[in-house]
Amino acid sequence: MSKPLLTLLAAACALALPALAHSRQVTLTAQLKNYGGDGAYLAAYLTDAKGAYVRTLWVAGGKAKYHKHLSDWSRLSAGDAKRLDGVSGASVGAGRALKVTAELADALIDAGYEIRIDAAAEDMRDSPLEIRVPLSAANAGKPQAGKQYIQSLTFQLE
């Protein structure tokens, strides 16, 4: 079976089946630094224990022309035709915060899954893998710093 299809299948299972059982709401808050540039493009996505793409949580920045600058996300999610469906919005200005929520299956918590964010801003340096945070109950509520753009990333589980 081809890899994108496998990924898709994995994603479908991860999303659909556990959702039937039980799901929790995750709230991501990414506070950006004052990096002195235009609005940042951010892609928050979930990878599994092997580093494989699972699903996109949010993409900030609507111009497809620039999505290739979120290079890890762009490459990993290439097989996911619905990667932008209902989970995209405006780019995030320097010093501003992005707050998004997502429904995640209980089974994903403390199972080696990671939240990753790619970031980029125009005429500035791309930052694939700006930040990666293991999706564990222990990490919830603990702010983590990103490499270039993100001052702190916090996720809350409900």
Binding site: G37, G51, R75, L76, G79, D123, M124, R125, K147, Q148
Partner: protein, 770 residues
């Protein structure tokens, strides 16, 4: 809507936005220029692999190498957890300094592309670019129309200061402005997502992590040790990556190193041609995507629009961007001038309700004044009157009377604005119950084609079956008395009391000061010896005037004396007369004085006034251009033929012949002692090479050579030579003389299968006749 209307209204409205975009664009051009200064270019043919090797030696934790359009190499790295960006010398990998994306604040760029209004602003900016494109296209059409075709595009521009700025600058930058608009649209299309640039989704590639190999022992020697995977497998040094060896830095855009933390990550390289992914262990090229056509077009558009990587072009773009302000300002002034000069009819009734329609064809604008007088008189009599330009000719249900007031331009042509009026009228049918259409012509009996256009209108109207209330009447020299008499006839025909008391409008004049006058005694020869009074009075004088200093603002607004060239006309308004008299100018604005040659005509109000002037006296004057007669810039031979005071504009041409084009003057007078106007100057110009040859003939002295046409016949051989070389001919003098010259030249040119009328059609032959 015509091109002119499109150009004017787009320019006046969206032009304001274009100014913002133009100025901000000009500022943005600073970046490419500044970057060009600080960028050491990569040596030709430097393989990317070598560059990577050098960079990894000097920069720790390198993540990305960018080859900027300016040619500079920038390396992005992490020093611990501190992101770094530095310029690197590609020759040795030396770090040159910290990189900064732009010397300008971000808002300039955002102002330029979105007017600081986000996505909505991007659409507005794209719309402005589209409008700018339309403005450019219409500008080209209008420019060609104004200059008279592609061949004459480089000819001298005439008109007010604002017009000349607009047209001259437009000639220079139009193509670049057009290109900028087009590239702006291309860039907008991709940014706004109307065009997809990417070659489909990126391939899902990963480096194949090998089993632990014996090679790992060498890792300490490897320059890439930092990039080794966390499991300790050996990554291949960049020098062994086949793709990177084959690519040169010239083509490189961006190279991403495989991430240290991700053993499966790959090299990713982007070039002008496309992008590729390389296995970090095997060095194999995992995938390659060619750049799409859309991407290549977008790349080109980016260079052409921003001047990135081409600093000279950026300078051009900056100047062109700034010129938008110049166009807008001069355009606003032109529009304002046109509004001021446009015929302004007061008390106009809407067309559909009017029972009397007046249609006007006017060259200088004076006929509109007569129309206003007629309109006022008829309105007072209880009519509802609508006045408009002749090209609007039509009749409606409410129409009961139509009047056409038509001036004639040049040799019997229609005034420019009404050039298609005859065709329009010839296509119209008067219908079952035709209303009377009465034609009133305006002209000057001095011209053989007196009221020729009015006559053509009369003929066409009658041919189409329109009746007339009054027969065609032709008003000579804007005569108010004649107009009043026509009004009496009209009143009788209408059976109404109607008085046409016309007060003509005079163009805005400037007070010129006489500085020098040079008098010639009576040209008749008898004048000096106590002859009859009118004979003694028939003297001639060359009058030189100066004009008052004019500020730039006044000149931009079209106030003050307009710019003029030799061959243009100056209108002199004599106190007590509303009708200006025109004289050919013997000097141009550049000469710094205004010179005319005036002959006393018996009983002539204006010439008497001028001849009576003493240095320091004032005269009210205005400029009227004479575009058909003015001399184009040329290196071809110029044959100048003049008699008497007709030499004046020709002298002006020679005076300004700084390029020493071969000019040949045929001058005809009566007596060299009395009427060789400009004689000493002409001799001087001959010595200076401004004039190539001079032939003078004098009809009243023995062996004087006869008339100027006799000289032409004698010189037939040379004249044919010059005409074969493309000579331009200018004739100035009395009507009989011009007629004689044309006849003589027709005979001279017959062996060449050429005639004066053919030369006229090619705009190589023009007359200024009085």
């Amino acid at each position: 809507m015509g091109w002119k209307a499109i150009h004017r209204w787009l320019g006046l409205t969206i032009g304001t936005l274009a100014v913002v975009l133009g100025i901000s664009g000009a500022i943005l051009a600073v970046d490419p220029v500044q970057q060009a200064w600080q960028a050491p270019a990569a040596p030709d043919g430097l393989p990317v692999a070598t560059l990577v090797e050098r960079v990894t030696r000097t920069v720790t934790g390198a993540e990305e190498i960018r080859h900027l359009p300016s040619g500079a190499i920038v390396v992005f790295s992490f020093d611990g957890d501190q992101p770094q960006a530095s310029y690197v010398d590609p020759a040795d990998g030396r770090v040159l300094g910290a990189w900064q994306p732009s010397a300008l604040p971000r808002w300039v760029k955002n102002l330029h592309r979105s007017l600081l209004l986000g996505d909505a602003g991007r659409w507005v900016a794209a719309g402005t670019a589209l409008a700018m494109g339309l403005i450019c296209v219409s500008a080209l059409v209008l420019l060609l129309r104004r200059m008279g075709g592609w061949q004459r595009l480089a000819a001298r521009v005439r008109g007010s200061l604002a017009q000349r700025i607009h047209v001259v600058a437009g000639r220079v930058v139009l193509a670049v402005l057009c290109l900028s608009s087009l590239t702006a649209l291309t860039m907008s299309a991709s940014t706004l997502g109307l065009v997809a640039l990417d070659a489909g989704p990126e391939p899902d590639v990963a480096s194949a992590v090998p089993a632990v190999s014996a090679l790992s022992g060498l890792s300490a020697l490897s320059a890439l040790s930092a990039a080794n995977g966390p499991t300790g497998q050996m990554a291949l040094p960049s020098a062994q990556l086949v793709l990177l060896k084959s690519l040169t830095v010239q083509d490189l855009r961006k190279l991403n190193f495989p991430a240290a933390a991700d053993p499966k990550d790959t090299w990713k390289v982007a070039t002008r041609q496309g992008q590729g992914w390389i296995d970090r262990y095997s060095g194999q090229t995992l995938a390659w995507q060619d750049a799409t056509l859309a991407q290549r077009i977008d790349d080109w558009a980016l260079v052409l629009h921003t001047g990135e990587g081409a600093w000279l072009w950026a300078v051009v773009l900056a100047l062109v961007g700034a010129s938008v302000l110049l166009f807008w300002l001069s355009g606003v002034v032109m529009w304002w001038q046109a509004r001021r000069l446009a015929p302004h009819i007061t008390g106009n009734c809407p067309l559909a309700q009017a029972d009397v329609l007046i249609f006007v064809a006017s060259e200088g604008g004076s006929t509109w004044g007569f129309a206003q007088t007629l309109q006022d008189a008829l309105s007072q009599g209880g009519h509802r009157v609508h006045t408009s330009a002749l090209e609007e000719f039509q009749t409606l249900a409410a129409t009961q009377q139509v009047f056409v007031l038509a001036a004639t331009y040049g040799e019997g042509q229609a005034p420019a604005h009404a050039s298609h009026a005859l065709e329009i009228i010839a296509r119209l049918s008067p219908g079952a119950t035709p209303v009377p259409v009465t034609v009133l012509g305006f002209g000057d009996r001095q011209f053989p084609a007196f009221c020729a256009f009015a006559q053509a209108l009369e003929k066409t109207l009658r041919g189409q079956g329109w009746p007339a209330l009054l027969p065609l009447e032709c008003i000579h020299q804007q005569s108010g008395q004649q107009f009043a008499r026509w009004g009496e006839a009209l009143a009788q025909a209408l059976g109404e009391g109607l008085v046409l008391a016309h007060v003509p409008r005079v163009p805005t004049t400037t007070a010129l000061t006489l500085s020098v006058r040079q008098d010639y005694p009576g040209a008749d020869g008898k004048g000096g010896k106590g002859g009859k009074g009118w004979q003694r009075g028939q003297t001639t004088a060359i009058l030189r005037f100066t004009w008052p200093a004019q500020g730039l603002a006044a000149r931009l607004r079209g106030h003050g004396l307009a710019h003029f060239d030799a061959g243009d006309l100056v209108g002199i308004v004599t106190p007590g007369s509303a009708v200006p008299r025109f004289y050919s100018l013997a000097s141009g604005w550049q000469d710094g004085f205004l010179e005319i040659c005036v002959r006393q005509t018996p009983g002539g109000l204006c010439s008497t006034h001028l001849m009576g002037l003493q240095p320091g006296d004032f005269v009210a004057a205005f400029i009227r251009t004479n575009p058909g007669f003015a001399l184009p810039r040329t290196r071809r031979p110029v044959v100048l033929i003049g008699a008497g005071t007709g030499v004046a504009p020709l002298a002006g041409f020679i005076r300004r012949n700084d390029r020493h084009s071969p000019m040949h003057l045929y001058f005809g007078g009566r007596d060299p002692a009395r009427d060789f106007f400009f004689g000493p100057e002409i001799q001087r110009w001959l010595g200076e090479g401004r004039l190539a040859t001079l032939q003078t003939v004098f009809s009243r002295v023995p062996d004087g050579g006869g008339y100027v046409q006799d000289a032409l016949r004698r010189d037939a051989e040379r004249l044919r030579d010059w005409v074969t070389q493309g000579a331009i001919v200018r004739v100035c003098g009395g009507r009989a003389m011009a007629q004689g010259v044309a006849e003589a030249l027709d005979v001279v040119l017959a062996p060449l299968q050429l005639s004066v009328s053919q030369l006229k059609a090619k705009e190589r032959y023009a007359e200024d006749v009085f």
